[in-house]
Symmetry: C2
Subunit: 461 residues, 2 copies
Amino acid sequence: MNCKRLMQAMFFFASLASIAAAEDSIPLPNPTQMLWQDAELTALFSYDLHVFDGERYNQPKNRITPIKDHNIFNPTQLDTDQWIRSFAAAGGKVALLTATHETGFALYQSDVNPYCMKALKFQDGKGDIVRDFVVSCRKYNVKPGIYIGTRWNSFYGVHDFKVHNDSSQFARNRQIHYNRMMEKMTEELMSRYGELFMVWFDGGAHGPELGGPDILPIVEKYQKNIIFYHNTQRADIRWGGSESGKVSYPCWGTFPYPFSHSTRQKEIFKNDFKLLKEGDPDGKYYMPAMSDAPLRGYKGRHEWFWEPGDEGHVQPLDNLMEMYYGSVGRNSTLILGLTPDATGLLPAKDSIRLKEFGEAIHKKFDHPFASTSGKGLVHQIKMDARKTIDHAMIMEDISMGERVREFLVEGKTSKGWMLLYKGTAIGHKHIARFNPIEVSAVRLSITKSLAEPQVRAFSVF
Amino acid sequence: MNCKRLMQAMFFFASLASIAAAEDSIPLPNPTQMLWQDAELTALFSYDLHVFDGERYNQPKNRITPIKDHNIFNPTQLDTDQWIRSFAAAGGKVALLTATHETGFALYQSDVNPYCMKALKFQDGKGDIVRDFVVSCRKYNVKPGIYIGTRWNSFYGVHDFKVHNDSSQFARNRQIHYNRMMEKMTEELMSRYGELFMVWFDGGAHGPELGGPDILPIVEKYQKNIIFYHNTQRADIRWGGSESGKVSYPCWGTFPYPFSHSTRQKEIFKNDFKLLKEGDPDGKYYMPAMSDAPLRGYKGRHEWFWEPGDEGHVQPLDNLMEMYYGSVGRNSTLILGLTPDATGLLPAKDSIRLKEFGEAIHKKFDHPFASTSGKGLVHQIKMDARKTIDHAMIMEDISMGERVREFLVEGKTSKGWMLLYKGTAIGHKHIARFNPIEVSAVRLSITKSLAEPQVRAFSVF
């Protein structure tokens, strides 16, 4: 075994020499992308008029049915502190809010979209939940982000980015007006609330080349360091190809295009979004995958929005842990969908589950039996005593790029070194699960890498 | 001559006997219609977002072009008192305001249409020009009315009553939403501002039978005594068939249908709106004609809305007097279109012209040489001294219905009785103009009438 390892290592160093020049071409994350991956656990708070309609949310129907009376929006116990406190208890680091979703209603004081909180009796038309949300995020050391829906607007009559229409001049004029409204709303949202960590244009923002608004220059003007997701020109992260809270393995942090996808890019969607789920180890653009899923997604439900009587669909803790392994444990970031109720609070059940989730993560990963870090192909840890382990957590220092292509985890048992796990991608973080085994030492061996491996952490539990 | 008159009278009384029973079937105005005709001079104040865009108003273009930025609406010197004071100086008795016109923007605090003054920075989103307008009207003893546009809405995408559309479910849903919004706006406008004298749904409000909102029951619930204009079920007045400020002569105060017209009723529109212009002396419904025209309608212009550099198109006084003769003098009511400017004031030129108009009407009609009134076919006035006259003003007591069908005005000159004027309809008021002539007595002879004539006034000037 030792002899085999040595040969592998010799062969590998020969390979490394031949690709030393490749180091310069490894895509690197920008500082915000590094923070994004460090966040690991993030949330999208979805809130819109139909939370208050007392009905079950039905996306295809809601998309084409304007809300009868926007003054149903009346969260009398609104408390964004409670939202964020609940999320922070899970260990969440980044939270986004749907400033607008598919009704077209804006949760702030827009000067360009009259269908906003100015139109409400609630808080005498002076409410600004985006402001409240951002303030609460800062209070609890959670980075704030904003989600903006431009693709659907049941009030204004927008269907899949297009003003619901014929081909008349009127439709063209309203498209121009709508696009400008979206640009100006983007400007309002990017300029009014201080530094934002992320902006999410759902379904992509389209671009002028598709007859949509030209939002990217506006975002870039006001938010130099933002995670921009996304339009046909730029994406700093990519959708992970499902709303399951998981990605495939391997899930590479690189991608062949500077944009993640748009509805027009069928190439990216083929094979059930395989490219989005897996990424491309040879991709020239650093663009890690996110794994989004609603907390209320249990037993055949998949609810981004609160609706009455839906508490039974809050995911059990075990399922959340599986999501954690399937996302954070696979070089992705989990975006958990949370939705406050019609009183303005995150429901108790959801809030409690988040706390349990945070405690479970802490319990599992706060106290490794052993840890190491550093450069190189082989990282061995001798343990103080024999321990029964069943997890390894491996992180690359992705500031140097995602380098590792194949690796092994071995454990020194009473019968000698044994292979515990064989993997491919590591990236920001990989959590390897294997059968419990008693070991006195563990070893991470990188058997294929684009350049010298930079191991930020190797821990066993 | 006397012999001939006697024979006419004998013949006429014989006719009267045969139609005595017809008296019961003469359509009578309701009390509000009587006030409407007594008002004689009314105004429509038109005010909308595009007053502030610095551009020439172009109705076909504006109808299909949403306003780029509604916050251009910023009348820093807004003074509805000045509007109404200016109009009252012309002798105006009823004033309407465009609560909404074709942009869809509502000049008040709507809870159902977010595209309203709540959306403005102006007055911190708390402005309500409908309220201001009504208060000013009451202050100057002018009866307030409200104009509501449902037919066009460049923001929401409504074109000739229909949500700009295809035949999709989305379009149908938005039509339902829009219709409800119109109904609820009608409720807001009819219930919030006390008793209103008139409501004007431009182009008609459509009705549910045409896929439009069902506004009539709402108006009738809140405003028992209102002049309702109009929908496919009811009209208390009718459009006079042009926007010239004049109607045809004769212009009967009765109409064959309980509704005036809608875009679907081609029968009423034929022959250049002849039926609207003339009415129908045999019509079963009391429905007097209105004569609308913008004050800024001179030299080929026809501007209901203020625009920069348009002062040269304010009608000269002579034209206004011709409108007065062609409307008030023909049993109609003049609705003068007035439009405040972007500062929020009625421009000085318009205001001064209104004052001149009022003074000219007073000068002409305040001091008749002689007057009489009463029942009967012949109304003779012996004058104190010989006077040169050129006008007669005749009014029926329309509370008894419009009875007269033909009449003569004769003057006793130095050469005996001479025919000065031969007319048909009188109705509320008829002003007869003839060549100046010196007379010592005048005589109104009604030569054809449905029932005993009820002369409210017969005056000469």
